[in-house]
């Protein structure tokens, strides 16, 4: 009879959206599953778990990261931000970028939206506000519904009206 190796466990301590969490988790637990199942924030979505579609993008210590390609243990000690952290007063308000997505019909099914918003959140807009740069920035996030045109328009509008942010 095949005996599976026992699954090793590790202690992790992370900050997610400003709140600290300590858990004992399986060493093989993906960061995406940790955020969704252990912390319970399901706004981060899984589109492929191959690191390709970008839907699961979160910010780890300031960098956009595909949470399906990172183990939870690798994020030990890190500060993580997810889509739930973007609206200034929680879900009852919208950030300028979220508002611009709404105003420009830049989402349909919305499954990829969190990953796109987190990719945008991870950069300094001054370097990225030209349409060609926006396309370059978002070329790692798949969207199947919108054809991208309204997404690019929404980003351009949000960043250009934010002035020198």
């Amino acid at each position: 009879m095949t005996i599976l190796e026992p699954v090793s466990e590790v202690d992790v301590e992370v900050t997610v959206n400003g709140r600290s969490h300590r858990h004992r988790v399986a060493a093989r637990l993906l960061l995406s599953d940790y955020i969704r199942d252990t912390v319970g924030l399901t706004g981060t979505h899984l589109g492929c778990e191959h690191g390709y579609c970008g839907a699961c993008t979160v910010i780890v210590d300031g960098d956009a990261v595909r949470s399906c390609l990172m183990l939870t243990v690798q994020a030990d000690g890190a500060e993580i931000r997810t889509v739930e952290d973007l609206a200034p007063e929680g879900a009852s308000s919208l950030s300028p970028m979220q508002q611009s997505f709404h105003d420009n019909h830049a989402l349909q099914c919305g499954f990829c939206t969190a990953g796109i918003l987190m990719t945008l959140e991870s950069v300094d807009p001054t370097d990225w506000s030209e349409p060609e740069r926006i396309i370059e920035l978002l070329s790692g996030n798949l969207c199947r519904c919108t054809g991208y045109q309204n997404i690019v328009a929404a980003v351009a509008q949000a960043w250009n009206s934010e002035g020198d942010v």
Binding site: T2, L4, T42, L46, Q108, T146, N150
Partner: protein
């Protein structure tokens, strides 16, 4: 920024025609929406399916003992355990019966076929155990059939032993006039065109969660048709239908993939009943590429009779669809009938003789995908027209002008019975040509001095049949849909519809329609859908039917509701019913300064103040309407012909491409869409549908291809690395313009717009690249147009030598 109003506003409506902001946005923007993978229940078990790694084999044995021994595994089930479950129904005699079992029994017919289910407390553990089941499976391989040609070869291995051969359907639509035209024409040619295998590929994979509480089985599933799933679960599990509740949570895209009813929709609820525990299965991406339906994969063998002046006398076309294994419910045969019946598209070509064939192969079952056979038919007719133009020296646009349906020709009945009710076929093309002319000039100027680049233009004119009947494919489910409208005592409106929603904005649209019908604001309307317990029986959203069905059913129910409310208001105002007008959300006596009665007052009387009701009036303020479109037919006549779509949108696409000769790289430099879906309810949403549709069409034209090994029928794809979904760097900026030719037989003239965008691009890109390479006589016949395909075509045309010098 999308204008909040536009030219679409018409008198008599306040919200229809406006880009009312979407009510669906806040959840996804803030992370608050609950998709299928976010449905979590206490004590929920995780299910992982074990899938065939053989394309065609007998299953000799499945040893589940090691998997059962894994810590955390609750159960492992195989087909034997599900013996009591009914097979998926084979309702239609003319489609080869597949007797699909929820789990494969002794034979698998494609890589990905589910034959066992592992149930564990944890997904990771379930996957470990599934690997042990896979390792414990013994197969006896059978010879495989990997494509249409192999399936139809004499002596080909059969997938179903009791069939005569691998044909699931084979129906001819003879037309003697076409034979005569062939005899009389100056010239003929034959050609073969191919639309490759693709899949709709929503970014959210499928999933099922089930729970049981007392007698009620509740199933959350990422379906486009919850009521159809409920009916099928009840049938197959032998549970009374009222004891099954099916809910679709927020859905991350469907595109036809989620219209089918899959084995997992049956097995997961069965597990919950068996174990008495909630269970969940979430498809992973590799699984999705193998286990969710594929689509397109059609070959068209065409003969054309034409004269020297470019007149097309007649067309013969055999369309053959590769069904994969055919093990899917409803059957995947329907797209080839759509292709067949729309083979002449937006053109007036009556002498057409066709044959629709579907064959089974050892590949993933094919089924629905946005466009549903029409990108294929459009590709065929546009390639035919381009070829006739080239052979006769006729201008390609001019030849299309001669053939396009003109005002006054509708209703136009096509060769297989499709009845085009209205449209702007010729006008849309003219409008697109006007928009394209300056763009073409710009693009030509941009590349004028680069000897390595050629520029070409491609055209597609199409019809988009909307709100079709399912009956011919499913044996159930016609083409109507229901709405229930209720006004609660506080005056709030509740609209419940049988449709589903997965990104199109159906809730926003339904609120706009109800607001206009009841004279209230959309913000006062709560929309309920996607829940069989809370919404009336409906068929869900597919076939570009949402807008049309919503309009018909919501208006019908609202009219009935308003009639009752008017009677109550008349009684309360002590006025004649005929003097009561509904305006600005209140009932007034015409020409009187008397205070009005609000919806809240009427509803309060109806529900909780019987004393205010007229004598003998029933309490309550809730009505239903079941809308069935006029002219929609469900069964063919004795020649096999019928009109299976309720209305017909149309459009014209023009694409301008540049082709780099040295690399074969194709860039779409400009893409113009003129679209006509009848009355527009929400312009922003319609435009969004077109943008997304065109992007998917371009995906099919240039990138996506599910390839199988021709010797083994083994898939050559496992992730997005092998299936190239376009990113924002690949999708060009679109110029979209609208026309509105209202549907003559629909309450607001609404037609539907979900699929139109997807239909044009394959024909456009093939035409444009062929045009760009016309100096070498290149005529592309197959999608996707990859750099490799372009280089191969140039080489075949003898244009390859000297390429490095920019001189093919």
């Amino acid at each position: 920024m999308i204008p909040s109003s536009g030219p679409h506003i018409r008198s008599g409506t306040r919200f229809v025609g406006r880009s009312v902001p979407r009510r669906e946005d806040r959840g996804p923007l803030t992370g608050g929406s609950r998709y299928i993978a976010d449905v979590k229940l206490a004590g929920m078990l995780e299910v992982v399916f074990v899938r065939s790694t053989e394309a065609h084999a007998r299953i000799v044995s499945v040893d589940t003992s090691e998997a059962r021994a894994v810590d955390g595994v609750e159960a492992v089930f195989t087909a034997t355990d599900l013996a009591e479950v009914e097979s998926f129904p084979d309702h239609i005699d003319s489609i080869g019966p597949v007797r699909q079992r929820p789990l494969a029994t002794d034979r698998v017919r494609y890589v990905g076929s589910p034959y066992a289910a592992v149930v564990a407390t944890d997904r990771y553990v379930a996957e470990d155990a599934a690997a042990l089941v896979a390792a414990g499976t013994e197969y006896e391989p059978l010879p495989t059939v990997a494509d249409i040609q192999q399936a139809l070869a004499p002596g080909a291995p059969k997938l179903y032993d009791d069939w005569d051969d691998n044909r699931s359907v084979d129906i001819a639509y003879p037309r003697p006039e076409a034979d005569r035209a062939f005899a009389e024409a100056d010239h003929t040619f034959t050609a073969t065109y191919v639309s490759q295998r693709q899949t709709g590929l929503p970014i959210e994979t499928r999933g099922v969660v089930s729970d049981i509480d007392g007698g009620t089985l509740t199933v959350w599933t990422s379906t486009q048709s919850p009521h159809m799933v409920r009916t099928t679960i009840a049938l197959m599990l032998g549970v009374p239908e009222p004891q099954v509740r099916v809910i679709h949570p927020v859905i991350g895209g469907g595109f036809g993939v989620k219209t089918h009813i899959y084995p997992e929709d049956i097995v997961v609820p069965w597990i919950t009943r068996r174990l008495g525990r909630p269970a969940r299965w979430i498809e992973d991406r590799m699984e999705s590429l193998l286990a969710s339906v594929h689509a397109r994969d059609q070959r068209h063998d065409v003969e054309v009779a034409y004269d020297g002046d470019g007149t097309i006398r007649a067309v013969r076309c055999t369309s053959t669809l590769d069904l994969g294994s055919g093990e899917i419910f409803y059957p995947g045969t329907a797209p080839v009938f759509a292709t067949n019946s729309c083979i002449t598209g937006a053109y007036d070509l009556s002498k057409v003789q066709t044959r629709a064939v579907a064959v089974v192969t050892n590949k993933t079952p094919s089924g629905a995908y946005r466009g549903f056979g029409i990108p294929e038919s459009t590709l065929v007719i546009e390639r035919v027209i381009d070829r006739v133009a080239r052979l006769t020296g006729t201008d390609r646009a001019e030849l299309r002008r001669r053939l396009l349906l003109r005002p006054g020709q509708t209703p136009y009945v096509m060769h297989a019975g499709g009845r085009i009710d209205s449209g702007s076929h010729a006008e849309s093309f003219e409008q697109a040509l006007e928009l394209a002319a300056p763009a073409l000039k710009r693009v030509r100027a941009r590349h004028a001095h680069d000897p390595d680049v050629r520029v070409g233009v491609g055209y597609a004119n199409y019809v988009e049949p909307t709100s079709p009947s399912y009956f011919r494919t499913t044996g159930h489910w016609g083409g109507g849909d229901a709405a229930t409208v209720r006004v609660d005592p506080d005056g709030s409106v509740r609209v419940a519809v049988g449709l589903s929603a997965f990104g199109q904005g159906a809730e926003t649209t339904a609120a706009q329609l109800a607001a206009d019908a009841l004279g209230v604001s959309p913000s006062e309307v709560t929309v309920v859908l996607g829940d069989t317990e809370r919404a009336p029986y409906g068929l869900g959203s597919w076939g570009s039917r949402g807008a049309m069905m919503l309009t018909g059913s919501v208006m019908l129910a609202s009219e009935r509701l308003t009639a009752k409310a008017r009677a109550i208001a008349a009684h309360m105002l002590e006025a004649a019913e005929s003097d009561i007008v509904l305006a600005d959300g209140a009932f007034h006596v015409a020409g009187s300064s008397q205070p009005s009665i609000s919806w809240a007052q009427v509803a309060t009387a109806a529900w909780i103040r019987k004393v205010d009701l007229p004598d003998g009036m029933e309490e309550g303020l809730e009505t239903s309407g079941y809308y069935h479109p006029e002219h929609l037919e469900h069964q063919p006549d004795d020649t096999g012909r019928f009109n299976s779509a309720a209305s017909w949108s149309n459009g014209a696409h023009i694409g301008i491409v540049s082709v780099r000769l040295s690399t074969g790289e194709v860039s779409i430099e400009d893409y113009i869409v003129v679209h006509d879906c009848g009355t527009v309810i929400n312009p922003a949403l319609v435009e969004g549908q077109i943008h997304g549709g065109v992007a998917q069409g371009i995906a099919g034209a240039m990138y996506e291809h599910l390839q199988y090994d021709s010797d083994t029928a083994y898939p050559r794809f496992a992730s997005f690395m092998d299936y190239l979904v376009p990113t924002c760097a690949e999708v060009p900026r679109l110029s979209v313009d609208h026309r509105e030719s209202p549907a003559p037989d629909q309450p607001l003239g609404v037609k539907g717009c979900g699929e139109g965008g997807t239909i044009g691009p394959p024909a456009v890109v093939l035409g444009a690249v062929s045009d760009a390479l016309s100096e070498w006589g290149v005529e592309l016949t197959e999608c996707p147009v990859t750099p490799v395909a372009v280089r191969a075509a140039l080489r075949a045309a003898g244009a390859a030598r000297g390429r490095a010098e920019g001189n093919p």
